[in-house]
Symmetry: C2
Subunit: 278 residues, 2 copies
């Protein structure tokens, strides 16, 4: 199968996949999702992704009957794709019913999964670093839930791309929250710092891996607020995410970070992270 798809228990070709018009995901952004990468046929941190998925769904009161079966189906979909390295997209929406804001309590969720060949960002991005811009964080106040209501992220990411940047770093009340699809870290005096996992950020799986692994490597790791000023004065800046991995940021809003080259600690963490995959 090429780009196989899973919808509510059935495996099918992408072309056969169709969504109901009154799926609440389509009319209300009433759903949650995960992106899970698989390396050499082995899903990376599948358990953590499913734990977060359960929490996201529970926060919205979306009830999935059997997460164990879903995880088995996810693994099966990856197998069927035949890709050595694959990227799985898993989305759960509340279900289908005639359009009305308040939802019924007894809805059966719609579960969709797609899988594509994993394409890493170009090596050059990691070797030379990328640019970022800063933007006001316009999102809602419950960013800790991984929902499909991603429109603010979409608009900010587009602004970044237009500015020739890799990512938009969002700022709320003078402090950094995160990227539109990544978490942010800075390095200062060899200490690794990332904003705490409040309601204003999505606690990324890669973020947590880096926090754990950096500590194992002997670094001082801190979850502390980062002001806009501290961002620009950092020794190193990097972004993390399932697709982003550990991405050095060397220029923000046109100003270079330190000497404009990827930082040493960022490079060390990137190499270490790559070593964990598959």
């Amino acid at each position: 199968m090429n780009n196989p798809v899973y919808i509510n228990g059935e495996f099918m070709e992408y072309e056969a996949a169709r969504i109901d018009l009154e799926d609440r995901g389509y009319q209300f952004a009433d759903g949650v999702y995960e992106v899970i990468n698989s390396y050499n046929g082995k899903p990376f941190r599948m358990i953590e992704h499913f734990e977060r998925l359960k929490k996201s769904a529970a926060a919205l009161e979306i009830k999935v009957s059997d997460y164990g079966q879903l995880q088995a189906d996810a693994e099966e979909l990856i197998r069927r794709s035949g890709f050595t390295d694959a990227s799985l997209y898993l989305q759960i929406t509340r279900g289908t019913e005639p359009r009305s804001h308040a939802y019924s309590d007894d809805l059966t969720p719609n579960i969709v999964m797609t899988v594509k060949e994993l394409k890493n960002h170009p090596d050059e991005y990691y070797q030379k670093g990328v640019k970022a811009i800063t933007l006001p964080d316009e999102r809602w106040s419950r960013c800790y839930i991984k929902t499909i209501a991603l429109l603010p992220n979409v608009l900010a990411k587009k602004k970044a791309k237009r500015a020739g940047a890799f990512e938009a770093i969002m700022v709320r009340d003078g402090f950094i929250t995160e990227g539109t699809s990544s978490n942010l870290f800075i390095v200062r005096d060899e200490r690794i710092i990332t904003p705490p996992a409040t309601n204003y950020i999505l606690n990324g799986i890669t973020r947590r891996v880096i926090l754990e692994e950096a500590a194992k490597l002997g670094f001082t790791v801190l979850e502390e607020s980062i002001s806009l000023g501290e961002l620009f004065e950092a020794d190193e800046v990097f972004l993390t995410g399932t697709t982003t991995e550990v991405m050095p940021v060397v220029e923000i809003d046109g100003g270079v970070i330190k000497d404009g080259k990827p930082g040493k600690i960022t490079g060390k963490l990137f190499d270490h992270y790559r070593g964990l995959l598959g």
Copy 2:
């Protein structure tokens, strides 16, 4: 046709309507919508709804090639439904492409319309008034765009229903913004007051009709911030919306407004509004 549907230029039965999995509306809430009621076969304030639709789409850079044709198709769909009083739902999403936050500039939008028989709220609601609750406004900062990223509204509306209330009135920084699918007005000393149309509220068509018509009826009409305290001390409170019409609120968070009965000015505006329809 029963519940006819329109998708990208084609009219069909609801059962035949299917959405693409990678429609950006489904994965990113990347779209806008309108709900337009038709009374005795005549769409109410169609032009105003389309003007707002254009503004919403433009704010997201969604490019629709021919709004004139779309409006004609909307009218045709209402005709085909055969309903004397109908409710048209019109949704435009950015288009379909492989999932990626930043969108391509050349996408063709997906346009979907459904039409159902219009069901008014029970007369009793208008005669006796309804209850509301207040909740923190958790939405993003660009609520003036009528997008399908409605998850915060959905969660707040559900809380209201669970509390036995008709609507949740949202509060940001101590001031009222609006309901989850309605605008809010208060009456104080015979003056009619609603919060100004900042970026934190959706400037409802019914809101504007009421502002205009109330002025025509000789009332003093003000667009001013309303604090939570002012809400509870109001002489009258009512909500407006295409489906809500002019709905008296007689109890908020368990406390009665004045004598707990729908206000006289609210009643007058309701009667007047009903008179404008079809």
